[in-house]
Subunit: 145 residues, 2 copies
Amino acid sequence: MLKRLSPLLTPDLLYVLRAMGHGDEIAIVDANYPADSAGPQVVRLDGVAATDIVDAVLSVMPLDDFVPEAAWHMQPAEGASPDQPIFDDYRKLVEKHEGGKIKLSSIERFAFYERANRAYVMVASGERRLYGNIILKKGVIRPDE
Amino acid sequence: MLKRLSPLLTPDLLYVLRAMGHGDEIAIVDANYPADSAGPQVVRLDGVAATDIVDAVLSVMPLDDFVPEAAWHMQPAEGASPDQPIFDDYRKLVEKHEGGKIKLSSIERFAFYERANRAYVMVASGERRLYGNIILKKGVIRPDE
């Protein structure tokens, strides 16, 4: 482990987060998501809630404030409640780390799959809640930070 | 780059620091050191002073306080001044990050080579000052940290 860093930031996860640049996207997906066949490189964190991973990722990775949206959940399929409880957890985590500067947005389900499958990296979580998927777009660290 | 982390903590360096466990050692060596042929895996930071790398490493990696010594410089060859200016920089960096809990020690030159060449990882720096080599032993993060 390392000082000041969440133990969920594993060697593989730290590596990809640090390798990502401005505008690169990370998809953190639930335990049902077909991550391994999706295309992007996969970092596995089986057994760990996606919300805990998002908390760890946002503790070191800034979100992109050059664009109107930088964090998206997946919109549920027809018939399911459009506001799943996990979305509220995600909203609070974005608020916690970005302080109201960036809001959680959403993307229609099939557009979400398409976008997530073009991400720089996909984190396969152990999240059991349905629709527990999120895409985060990396921002910049300014020279004085 | 990542929030709260030195830009010198590259993807490769972060990976190995996070992968290291209690008691594993990292050798940060100067630009004359035969790092690539030494044996351990090598992370390259050509062009960067070893002192800057030590500062970045100690900002996230605790030193081992289970043992009497956890940081060593190389003792100069006969005829050279036994206290090179870079040793004082290393002393100050250990003090800065460990607050007097751990002191910089030294190892005879050939014993240093032997120990460095058994390290978990070697960082090849761009350090031009002679005897600019240091070995650091990783400590633990306690449950309440």
